[in-house]
Each structure stands twice: as C-alpha cells, then as structure tokens.
Symmetry: C2
Subunit: 337 residues, 2 copies
C-alpha cells in the first residue's frame, strides 16, 4: 500500500462545458479507520453527467464543493481495513469515495458487490445506479406494451442501453437515438434495437417520423433540448415521456427554454420526472433480473475506460461533449491486489 | 319566425390577436328539415378560445373554414321544426349551430337540455363542455388530495371556476390565478377559493411562492406561457400538471418555446395533456354532481353575455385579449318565444 492518497479536487465552477482547468490535484495521507468505519481503495470511478450540475454549487444537490475539496463521485472499491462490524477487508463495495484512491466510510449507502454476479465494473453501470435509472423509468414510468414503439436517447450509454434493452425484453419495438453511425450500428447489432437514428445525420423530427411511422408511445429522455422537441412532434396517442436527463442544460448557467407543449395535449401524453433515488428499493429486483439476462447473454453493455486517476478530468470533459462510447469509467487501481 | 337567417362568417385567418375584420356577415334563407333532421333557433352562442385555433385552418381540428363559411361554434337552441324521430319542437338542445340564428341538425352529438336543471345558459358553461373539461381534468388527471394545494389559471372562466370549485369540494386548498383584482376578489368571495393571485400585480413566481408556501401539488393550466413557467418554479414533490389550454399561443402562427422542465424532474412531477372529448362519457356524472351543488347553492358561476348575433366578433376579440369576466356568451334570441 502506498503511503499517500492521490486526489482530484474541485477548482472552480465551469463556464459552459467543463475544461481540465476546472479541476486540481493533490495528495493527502491515507486515513485510518476509526470505530464503525472502514477504509477502501478505489478500483473504478464512475463518471456521470450530473457531476457537472454538482459543480454549479446550486441548491439542487446536497453535495456542496469548495475549491480544494475532493470531487464527489461513486466508486467501485475494495475494503482494505475495517473497524465496521458488517464490512470485512477484501470485500467489494459500491461506495461514494469521490475522485481519489482511498477513502473512509461509515457504511451509509454502501452496496456490497458480489464479484461472481457479473464483472465488477457493472456495479457502476448497468447493474448500478445508471442501470436502476433505466430499469425504474422503463418498467414503472414508461410502461411500454408489447408492440409499442419505445424511443430512447443517449442510447449506448448505461442508462439508455439499459432502458432500451429492458423495453425490448418487455416486447416493445425499440428505436435508439445516438450521435454517430458507429453508436447506431452498435445499438442495432449488439443491443438488439429495431432501429437507431443518428441525430447528426439530418432533421431529427423527420428521421423519427420515418423510423416510427405509428408514432412514439414511450420516450425515455436522457438529453432534453432539441431532441425532446423533435420527439414531441412525433407522439402517438397516450404517449408517455420519462424526463430523466437534460445533459445539454447541465453546462448552462441559465436554464434554456423548453419545447412547445401543444402536441402533448393533442396526444393526451404524460410527461413524468424521474429521480432514481426514489427507486432504490428496486435495486434487488433490477440486479436479479438484468443480472440473469447478462448471464444468459441476453443483455449487453459497453464501457469507455480511461486509465489512471489523473485522466479523470479529461475523460469527464469528453463525456460532457458526448465523446464517450459506453459507460464512462476511470480505472484507479487493479481489481485484485 | 323571420324569413331570413342572419349569419356571422369566416373572412380570413387572423394575424395575431383576432380583429372584427376577420369576420363577415350575411343572411340566407331559413332551411327546411329533411327526413331525420330538425331545425333549431339559437338562443346562446358559446365563445371559446379554441375557435381562434380553428381559424388557423391547421390540421389540428376537424373543422375547416373557407371565406364566407359560417363560423363554427356550439349553441344552446330550441327546436322549432323536426322530422327527426327523437327530437320534438319546443325541446332545448346543445348543438353546434355555429354563429347563426337557425341551423339544421341530424342529431349527431346533440345533447338534450332539461330547462329545470339549471339556467339554460349553463349548458354551454359550467354544465357543458367547459364544465366537463374542469371536472374531468381535476377529478381524473389532477386528483387533488384533501389539504393539498390546487392552483388554477384563468380561474374565473367556466373551465377554471369549475376546476377550482371541484377541487374545493375534494378538500383541496385552492389558489386561483387571474388578471385583475376584481377577478381575484370574485374567486375568493364568490367561488370560495382560499387565495387568488393577480398575475399583473408583480412577479408571478414570487407571488405564487407566497400564496403556496408548501408548494403546488396540482396545477390546472388553462393558459400556458409564462404562467406555466412560474408554476413550474413552485412545484411540490409529486406534483401533477394538467395541460388544458395554451391561449397565448392560439394567436401565434409559430408555436412559442415552452418552459424549462428541469424542476419537473426534481419534483418528480407529472404533466398530462387533457382533451375533453376523451371524457364525454362522464357528462352525466358531472351534470348530476355539479348540478346538485348548484341547486344547493354550493357552486357558482359567472357569465359575460354580449347582446345580439352581430356583437359576436367584438365579443370574441375581447375574449382573446382576456377582457371577459366569466363565461363568454352571445345572446342570439329569447329563451322563450
């Protein structure tokens, strides 16, 4: 074990899209667990768009950051020392260690991860909070019926690819929206979607009209903005829209206007806001079901792994520009020592 | 019976807010019913904001208008001649006669009106389609719980005053939004609302924050635009928004952008589009329940009646500027001959 704990810190609130200079780096002594605490070493850091919102230091999130604070974030980690009665050295956990190599935890909100269920990294992706987001939004808010048209944006990311594959398992016709032909090919050929629209290849509303001739019954929205507006022009009667992410707006200081909602009335549509924390109690059913599909080869995912803690700022900035392809992770340490 | 049928006709699609020159006037021979038809004389013409959308001649409505066509619209009328097996001379009906004194009908979509239930004119207001709109949206989409805060815009009109009073009968705390102090006084003193906000008296989001300190649980939206945006900044957790009318946009050629939807996610809110035609089967329960409240003096309404068919264009233009106070009607003929 090294004697220093390297960290990536918050330097300042970004202006628009984040840049590497919005972060700092330092190292501290590796802490020692007190009574009821454990120390874990981070293996994977999850990079999630909502960190950009946290960096605004707005009222929206509980986390508040001062310059020099370690960046917050979820990690997959292994316990190396414990004075906690329920956690033992050697165990793997999903824990909010932040952007650093080592951290203490009192066990709150920590999920124990069975390394035999699926690859460890999935605990931060399709079998973690992003997967639970896609699962809960699709099963409980979107409720696609067999044969209905289910559209999902950012469809090769962990939320979108889970939502789309869950909808496919529910019998829906699944149409993805992504930002490159390579992502679209992956969605159709690997994720089993029926079609995928590259929003950079033309007028999105027209492309969706062609891909969804009977209209869109369910839209799982991970991006907001112009994409949402294009979907709203193609709703089927009784459509459901799950509002999950508005990534475009995360890098804006002032929220942009939204879409014209007239067609929502005409379609008798329903729009529902999704916050994954309301659905934490569904984690066991999600991991059981999706984990089962994974073991039978009926559910796929893709990861985009940056190597080394120091690469985290660059990788995060790339994520916010839409440059990642699959779940964005940073490898901080080896899976096994 | 006169020998000519005076009519108000469609002249052209308005530019922005409608003006009297968008209408014409003429007279035709009074028609004679053929087999299966009846002739009725119009007593009241209902003025409704959606006529402005019909005048766009867009795809949204079934009615299409050519210059010189009689304006479409719902009327309360009395049958004067009938070759229809189910309708007799002397009976009162709610029928789409349009903006004219006399019209034929084959009975489709006609509601027979009992003149002993309530004043005849209510069949076009709180006991007609506007009332059904307020009833269905509140009872089936908004679902206010006792003690929850229910907000309704255009709250002294027939839809809004019905929605608010239904919510009051369901045990909710009702807060209206209207455009004058006189309307607000009426909402509190006559309709029994707990509070009413005059949107012309300051920053609406701040006024709503004061009037709804625990947030807004249900919003019945009759106007869209800036009012909807101000409400969205004051949502309680789990809020429901009923999208019913977007009056501001009816007078625009291009739909305006909508509100920033971020807070909808944070509040886990649901937005639902309401089209009253989906709820026609609920007309009997609405007239039974609201009619009962009316007879017990527990439900009020207000009408803004223009005298004479020729006053209809002016009265409609005033309605679209928000100048009416109560259900906008035009008296075309006497209730009894």
């Amino acid at each position: 074990m090294p004697d220093r704990n390297r960290r990536i810190t918050f330097a300042r609130s970004p202006q628009g899209l984040p840049v590497p200079e919005d972060f700092g780096a330092d190292s501290t002594a590796i802490p020692t667990p007190g009574p009821g605490q454990f120390l874990s070493r981070s293996i994977y850091l999850s990079l999630d768009p909502y960190y950009r919102n946290v960096m605004k230091n707005s009222q929206m999130y509980a986390d508040r950051l001062a310059a020099g604070d370690v960046m917050v974030g979820e990690t997959l980690a292994q316990i190396v020392d414990s004075r906690h009665p329920e956690f033992c050295p050697g165990e793997y956990v999903a824990v909010r260690n932040g952007w650093q190599q080592y951290a203490l935890s009192a066990g709150q909100g920590v999920r124990r991860i069975d390394p035999n269920t699926a690859p460890l990294s999935t605990a931060l992706g399709v079998l973690g909070m992003p997967g639970l987001t896609g699962w809960s939004g699709t099963v409980y808010l979107g409720e696609p019926r067999p044969g209905q048209t289910f559209v999902v944006s950012a469809c090769t990311g962990p939320v979108g690819s889970t939502a789309g594959q869950v909808a496919r398992h529910m019998g829906a016709r699944v149409v993805g929206i992504a930002g490159s032909q390579a992502k679209c090919d992956y969605a159709v050929n690997e994720l089993g979607f029926d079609a995928c629209v590259n929003y950079k290849s033309g007028d999105l509303a027209a492309l969706l009209k062609t891909a969804c001739p009977d209209g869109i019954d369910v839209y799982f929205d991970n991006v907001g903005g112009d994409t949402l507006a294009a979907v709203i022009r193609n709703l089927a009667l009784g459509a459901r829209i799950i509002l999950c992410g508005m990534i475009e707006a995360y890098s804006m200081d002032q929220p942009p206007p939204g879409p014209w909602l007239g067609p929502v009335v005409g379609a008798r549509a329903t729009m529902k806001g999704l916050v994954v924390y309301d659905h934490l109690s569904r984690m066991p059913e999600m991991t059981r079901t999706v984990g089962g599909w994974i073991r039978k080869g009926e559910f796929r995912w893709r990861e985009d792994i940056a190597e080394g803690l120091e690469s985290a700022p660059d990788a995060f900035c790339r994520l916010m520009r839409g440059g990642n392809f699959g779940k964005a992770l940073v490898r901080i340490g080896p899976e096994k020592l």
